[in-house]
């Protein structure tokens, strides 16, 4: 095959690929509501948009709470508190759909938006094993931004689709040394009576890691009613 022909074919293929991506994106923008099936947008890889894990600490609650960050509402009794470095533009809050933050087969609960700081404090629900370690192994769990939608519209089927697409695009867990450093900064499992104390703890992490969002953190830390 002549080079010109190869080049032409490559260009045609690229054009078709771009057109298909745009078609998918257009379908996403015109998409509606739960529980309709949505076309899944091409997802970015973890390295580009969720670029680092800065902090990781296991936690345990006496009283758990509903994990309303997905349609098939889960339960949070224990898990990880994480601090992630992200592309702030993907974290910019909007009223329309925005990229959902996933970790493995779970939707992360975001404590702060991550804009303009580029740092997100998040809660990853996970059971704990008999040693008190989360059963969700960060070394085996990719974390990435998925298709723009509302987290409360996400169910297990959508999570599975997003995870498969993310892996196709090369999403991988963070390197072991990064995870170890983050866990070292976090420390041993910490116990709280309830979500109230967990969120106040997480708000302090926002102040430490995302000071540009200090107003949000301070509003979370409003004096408790006595």
């Amino acid at each position: 095959m002549k080079n010109v022909t190869r080049i032409a074919l490559a260009l045609l293929f690229a054009a078709a690929l771009v057109a298909s991506v745009r078609a998918v994106q257009s379908a996403v923008q015109l998409g509606g509501k739960e529980p309709r099936r949505r076309a899944v947008e091409v997802t970015p890889t973890a390295r580009e948009d969720v670029s680092a894990l800065l902090y990781a600490r296991p936690f345990l609650l006496d009283r758990g709470y509903d994990h309303v960050w997905r349609r098939d509402v889960g339960w949070v009794q224990s898990g990880w508190v994480l601090v992630l470095e992200v592309d702030p533009e993907l974290a910019r809050p909007t009223q329309e759909f925005h990229p959902v933050l996933y970790a493995g087969d779970e939707v992360l609960e975001r404590i702060n938006h991550g804009f303009p700081s580029g740092r997100i404090v998040a809660v990853l629900p996970s059971a704990l094993d008999i040693d008190g370690a989360p059963t969700v192994d960060l070394a085996a769990t990719p974390i990435w931004f998925g298709t723009p939608r509302l987290p409360e519209q996400v169910d297990a089927r959508i999570v599975a689709e997003e995870l498969a697409l993310a892996r196709q695009r090369g999403a991988e867990p963070f390197p072991a040394d990064m995870i170890a450093a983050a866990a070292n900064r976090g420390g041993a499992v910490i116990a709280f009576p309830s979500r109230d104390e967990l969120h106040r703890f997480a708000a302090e992490l926002v102040l430490a890691y995302a000071p540009q969002e200090d107003e949000h953190a301070r509003n979370m830390l409003a004096p408790p009613v006595r």
């Binding site: 923008q29 015109l30 998409g31 509606g32 509501k33 739960e34 709470y65 309303v68 960050w69 910019r92 809050p93 909007t94 009223q95 329309e96 759909f97 975001r110 938006h113 804009f115 509302l150 987290p151 409360e152 519209q153 309830s194 979500r195 109230d196 967990l198 969120h199 107003e215 949000h216 509003n219 979370m220 830390l221 409003a222 004096p223 408790p224 009613v225 006595r226």
Partner: protein, 673 residues
């Protein structure tokens, strides 16, 4: 306000003493009759340049002149009589009975001799703008107007009075954009996760009894401390305002839960919040929800949850939510779960919104659909040039795009200037507040709102109040028949009745998308319909609705109401490139006609000249409600017989209205009062 003549009113005290207000004493000694005599008529209003030359109104801004007028064709027996015109502080029926004396508050009565020529000849400025509108925490100071024909300085037989009722003759209102008289305390506290609250209340709350509760639910990326402007404003008028931490990031459904849990929290903990300052002072029977953005849909969803028993509170239910204001809401949730139902409802929205843009290509940005879904008393307050962020008071940009952008302070004047009368109306039953919504925007708007802000005011009273709907285009969908079964004839062009849905994702007009610019459909549960048509220059054109025989007697009815908007980016809209006016004509069965030009009261605005969503400029279609008093069609002896009206005709072109244009009409109805 009713327009009728009553000849003498006789009051008798019941033997049980129930009418003590009228009698001035108990009835243990028997019945003591008191007579209040006088003919009740609508007198106060403002003159108009064109026919009908005068309109009766309920409210005047402080500093504005007040006029009165008498139509000699309605009151022929008064022609030639001379009377003293008094403006007095309003009195109830009982107060008039106890004291019929006339004390003028404008500097002395004026003299008026009734001319037989015209209403214009009997129009008098009765106050040049001296009357006070300072009602404290209330809205509007009431005044009555008396024409004392027997010149005895008392209200008596043969005199005319505008008033003599629970409703005053007219009201003078202070600038609703200005703070009220009460000092306000602000507190911030947390009851736990997503129970952070920023609450405002009058500092003298201990002496104020129970106060209504305003709950404010923010949008995504916003803070609950960004609504202090609403808090201070309403608290200064005697309300408790609580703005809460809202769980918006998962979505509007999660936000709806936090609206409800925070309402419960403040009600359950009023004994401990701020040392118990609120204890016993929150009226859980009068709750208002105000939401912004995802919180704007959230408060609607919260109300629907109460209706559907998807949230059960020990403290309140849906009947206690007396009003909802939704500011630039998203439409993420299905219409079957997110609907205002028959609650008193306001949609507040800016045409320059760059987040909840209202673009026809967005699947979750159709705020105007919520107005169409509502069937209680409903309001759409739409401002050109206002962005998404201007409804809060955070230190952010406007989140806006488009020409002639409005400054934050002006957007707040619009927001607060309307929110106060709405709360007064639906929480307290305030009478003059309704003028902000029954009258077109240019006719009566918040006094402090700068004149350059272009706004549209769409208002419809609750369907349950039983107006006669001539045509709402919901049924009888063929163009020659109205929904009430009357014949529709027209010579305007391209008449189409259809769903108010712009279905091609673009604001660019094409003949295949006649409902271009109608972003009032979000999902299959939305069913609002209208008619559209156009006309061109030169020539005059008409669109006429026949009144079915059973409904032709309008003599006891109050108003003709309809709503209208220009069609965005249509060639005739672009060619007109201006606000639009039309003539409304009534014809009786004898062929007598009377016509009124809508330009008397305001304009059907040109859609906001925002680019995007296709070639050209022009954003979503902006409905305005036009409400015409039926008796105005009788002015100066028109000869029209209101008891036998066979047709209503909209006339366009030439001297009848705008020379060309593209118009949508909807909700054409007769208001009964």
């Amino acid at each position: 306000m009713r327009s009728f003549a009553a000849i003498g009113l006789l009051l008798l005290a019941a033997e049980s003493g129930a009418q003590t207000a009228q009698t001035g004493g108990t009835s243990s000694q028997g019945v003591t009759p008191r007579v209040v005599e006088g003919t009740r008529v609508e007198l106060a209003g403002q003159s108009l340049l064109r026919y009908p030359h005068f309109q009766v109104v309920r409210a005047f801004h402080e500093g504005s002149p007040v006029e009165m007028a008498i139509d000699p064709s309605i009151h022929p027996g008064l022609v030639g009589l001379t009377g003293d015109v008094y403006v007095v502080v309003a009195r109830t029926l009982g107060e008039w009975a106890a004291n019929p004396g006339l004390i003028d508050v404008t500097g002395g009565p004026q003299t008026l001799t009734i001319s037989g020529a015209s209403i214009q000849a009997n129009t008098l400025v009765i106050d040049t703008g001296t009357l006070s509108g300072d009602a404290g925490t209330d809205l509007g100071v009431g005044y009555d107007v008396v024409v004392d024909f027997d010149l005895d300085g008392t209200l008596g037989q043969g005199d005319l009075i505008d008033g003599l009722d629970a409703e005053a003759g007219f009201y003078v209102v202070r600038d609703t954009t200005q703070m009220g008289p009460l000092a306000v305390k602000e507190i911030t506290y947390s009851g736990g996760s997503f129970l952070g609250q920023n609450t405002f209340y009058p500092t003298n709350i201990a002496s104020l009894g129970q106060l209504p509760l305003i709950v404010v639910s923010h949008g995504n990326g916003h803070q609950y401390t960004w609504y202090d402007h609403i808090g201070r404003h309403l608290a200064s008028y005697g309300y408790i305002v609580m703005s809460h931490q809202n769980n918006t990031v998962p979505g509007s459904d999660a936000a709806s839960i936090t609206t409800l849990t925070n309402t419960d929290y403040i009600l359950n903990n009023q004994g401990t919040i701020d040392g118990g300052a609120l204890a016993g002072h929150i009226d859980a029977d009068r709750i208002v929800f105000v939401g912004h953005s995802r919180g704007g849909e959230g408060v609607i969803r919260a109300y629907a949850r109460l209706l559907l028993d998807q949230y059960v509170s020990p403290n309140f239910d849906e009947d206690d939510v007396v009003f909802i204001s939704s500011m630039a809401p998203v439409t993420h949730i299905s219409s079957s779960l997110s609907f205002p139902d028959d609650v008193n409802f306001q949609l507040l929205y800016g045409a320059a919104d760059a987040d909840v843009s209202g673009s026809p290509s967005s699947g979750s940005s159709k705020p105007l659909a919520f107005y169409e879904r509502a069937f209680g008393n409903k309001h759409c307050s739409y401002a050109q040039g206002v962005g998404h962020a201007w409804w809060h008071n955070g230190a952010t940009g406007c989140t806006c795009t488009g020409p002639d952008l409005v400054a934050k302070a002006d957007a707040h004047d619009y927001e607060l200037g309307l929110l106060l009368p709405l709360v007064k109306l639906y929480v307290d039953g305030n009478v003059p507040a309704l003028d902000f919504f029954e009258r077109m925007d240019e006719d009566f708007r918040p006094l402090g709102l700068v004149g350059s802000v272009i706004t549209s005011n769409d208002y419809r009273q609750a369907e349950a109040l039983g107006s006669f709907v001539i045509d709402d285009f919901q049924t009888q969908t063929s163009t020659p028949v109205s929904s009430s079964g009357g014949a529709v004839v027209f010579d305007v062009l391209n008449v189409v009745e259809g769903l108010m849905r712009d279905q091609d994702g673009s604001f660019l007009f094409s003949a295949g998308v006649p409902m271009n610019g109608m972003t009032r459909y979000d999902d299959s549960g939305d069913s609002g319909r209208a008619v559209v048509f156009d006309w061109t220059s030169p020539g005059t054109w008409f669109y006429e609705q026949g009144i079915i025989p059973a409904e032709r007697d309008l003599s006891d009815d109050a108003f003709l109401s309809f709503r209208a908007c220009q069609g965005t980016r249509h060639p005739e809209t672009d060619a007109l490139d201006a606000p639009l006016a039309l003539t409304v004509t009534l014809r009786d069965t004898s062929g007598v006609e009377s016509s009124i030009l809508t330009a008397n009261y305001g304009a059907i605005e040109r859609p906001y000249k925002r680019a995007g969503s296709g070639a050209g400029v022009g954003w979503a279609n902006e409905f305005s409600t036009v409400r015409l008093r039926l008796t105005d069609f009788l002015t100066n002896g028109s000869g029209l017989d209101l008891s036998s009206i066979e047709a209503l005709r909209f006339e366009l072109g030439g001297t009848l209205g705008s020379a060309r244009g593209r118009l949508a009409l909807d909700d054409i109805e007769i208001i009964r009062e």
